[in-house]
Amino acid sequence: MTVPAPSPLVPVRARSPLDGTRLLVLGGGMTGHRLAARLRAEDPDGDWSLTVIGEEPQRPYDRVHLSDWFDHHHEDLLSLETGVWDDPRITLVTGDKAESLDRSAHTVTCASGTVHEYDRLVLATGSWAWAPRAEGKDLPGSFSYRTVADVESLAAWVAERGETLGREVRGVVVGGGVLGLEAAAALQGLGAHSTVVEFADRLMAVQLDDGGGEMLRLLIQDKGIDVRTGVGATAFRPAADGAIGTAELTDGSELPADVVVFSTGIRPRDRIGREAGLAVGERGGIVVGESCQTSDPDIWAIGECASFEGVCAGLIAPGNDMADVVVDRFLGGTRTHSRGEGGTKLKGVGVDAAAFGDVNAMTPDALEVSFVDPVHRQYRKLVLSDDATTLLGGVFVGDISLYSQLRPLTGRALGADPSAVIAPEGGGDALAGAELPDDAVVCSCNNIAAGAVRHSVNEQGCHTVGAIKECTTAGTVCGSCVPTLTKILNQELAKSGIEVSRALCEHFDHSRAELYKLVEEGGQETFTEVVAAHGTGAGRGCAVCRPTVASILSSLGALAGKRHNPVGRQLGSLQDTNDHVMANIQKDGTYSVIPAMPAGEVTPEKLLVFAQVAKDYGLYVKVNGAQRIGMFGARLEQLPEIWERLVAAGFQSGHAYGKSLRMVKSCLGTNWCRFGVGDSTAMAARLEARYRGLRSPHKLKIGVSGCARECAEAQAKDVGVIATHRGWNLYVGGNGGAQPAHAQLLVEDLDDETLQRCIDRFLILYIREADKLQRTARWVEEYPGGIAELRRVVVEDSLGIGEELEAAMQRHADSYVDEWAEAVNDPERRAKFVSFINAPDLHDKSLRYVIEREQIRPARSEDDPADTFPTPLAAKEHALAGAAQLSQEDQ
């Protein structure tokens, strides 16, 4: 008997326990978003409705990275995954506030007057910034640091106050916790001087021990931020114009205070639940149990507004876990919420500090092992059980590379000698072989355990960190676990014998980086020599290794100052057609012509020549993504004559065809823009002049922005430079493309020379070490030791190779010659640009063009042949004639 297959038009689905349920979430923050996203993912076909009400005008955003607003100046960049709001079952209400809850009627009334009915209600109202009682604390110029609105008004105030006062703005941050330090760094980033006032005797008093707090004080002071501990602010006095002006401290001293930021802790926003009679904790917060249900069985509470075991957690990880628990319970599960040994990491301040577990060794008979180096500003401490085997906690300041490895081991065997683990040299190696148990949480933000990461590697085919992130969401929130993900990945791949072959191809067993090193040491100068010295046997290479070898020989030659003409006879046969003919092949076999426009600048005179050339050949003209103008549709044999005219007008090759520097994009900078604080245009021109033509494993893009508004989108570039009042900030490893990546901050406050030196070093390291066709984003992501180690090598020159790298880059810059100028002046080279070797006067007659939006495009098979033309010029002339006729008829 056959069973009829279900009709595809009537999808069969299991009934969801939530079918027909109206769900209401109060609070449009991160946990509210998490709940909606999770429910949507867990119950894709359920027939329920979910309404999320948020008081802020924005969609839920990433509050954890609020300080990033100062880099991006745009709230969209903080936005959380927005696909969830496209789900027709989910409604987001922003800019409205729940005012009252009627539990018997199952309704919530909002400030707008709207009444929402619910079957189940989730309170995710978060917390508010508490400020101590102090006279004058509400004077104009006093802020909290909690929302996008807070940071926007803070930035506006500092700018305005600076103009009014005509001098540096002096700020006071009350509270020396994680957020307070972020606020102090943000103030400094806005050009203000800042002083942190902390009532406790150390910074990050809740998370750090005395030793860690003391080291953190040194590091914060190194950044030019003043620190006052053991004092509180008692009152604030107005300046002459009524704005806040002076802070009075408990020790009787005074601080100038043109702006004050309070970051003295948070309190749960529990009013609505409290007024409706829900049970409330001693220290506030709606009381919930391990199911996150409140005293009313139809109401749940998650995140900072919920009191679990008497504590309202102010971190995102427990909030996310509570959201996950509620979704699981809604769908009939039995998941319970528990508070693991959370950890805290300082972000956005440019100083590394992190801690987890029992930092103050409160466990009876706990042992502490510490390493203190005030010279190099490092502090590391492990807290262990009395038998020195079980890890109970850890504190890391200055160097937190061990944090992500050790935190998941809380409450478990350390498996190594603790003093060896925190020893200054190669300490982490003591842990090298250790493996995390499957249930150890690796990513605490998204609650992903080591086992899930392993599963993604072994069962779901994730063989890169990027794939693991995508598949498991581990490492996608704060990113601190990425080194651990890398380690697990490598361990699993090694175990299962999946050798991730880095061999280039059948002709070379080496990876690109290995081959680069071999050729650098071996001094081979031709493909024949390279394949003879390092190849797998006889053979003449392939489309993979030939361009790779060409790139290596070209990079090495340039860095040695012995210029291999990258497109000359010696390397010519190795290169893809693009590099060989110095133009990008287009889909019909014609080429693009894209001259360099350093910093995007072009004179009208040059532009006229460009336009005339494009007109004479009828070519398609478009501004491309690299802030340059290109003409398209040039045939091979036309390239030398076109370039001859461009070279004569002063244009140079833009290397748009090469795995090389594509452009240095910049905004207007200080000459024209009223907001610019650094001359980004001049810096872009300078950087382009230095790095143009440098062959690399993949294309390279650089961006320079003249202020934090970041109009050049530098953080989406391989190398991003952003001006601040104190110099240049350098970001690396950004990428647009298929797998976009935000660049990571490498170093701040550089002068012009130091900036250039850092970029020299970074680029050469990348060229030496990256895999074939590996962009800097992936290379930086996978750099052993992460961005912190890269920073040590590039900025601190920990390998002592800085000068050597700079000298090599200088040789490249000195030996640079414009490839197209060279080619058009070399009759032998020009002779190679020929249509047919036995019929140079003819050209490919299969090429056909049509007009679209007043310009040419290659004809397609569906175009009427009667509307197509054999050359761009013919098509263009026909179009112009048609236009002329039309305008005559109009008259």
Partner: protein
Amino acid sequence: MTAPADSLVAICPLEALTPERGSAALLPDGTQIAVFLLDDGSVHAVQQHDPYSGSNVLSRGLVGTHRLTAEGEDAERLVPTLSSPMYKQTWDLSTGAVIDAGGGAKKPIRVFDVEVRDGQVHVATAPRPGTGSQDDEA
């Protein structure tokens, strides 16, 4: 099988070719071909039309070699290869057979016999029978 001598046409002097690169050429009937001079001194000619992209570009592809164990043969042999400049599909330059279709359908290319006489490259005016694919109208 070698084509009869009278169906060969002179294309260019051998020294006009660039070692390990291709040149486009026209046969008397207007057919576009791609002619390659390899490192071992051999000269090869194939269709210029790239069956994957539909453009006449194969002369601008990269040459190389590939170790191949053919059916019924024990020893590996080295065959000359050509990779498309568009999407990198790779063919055996001596037979036109597909070596790497990049995951797509196999579309072999036509091979034209070549003779070098008195320093002149001569190419057959018709493809070697059995090479290329039927549906690819160059």
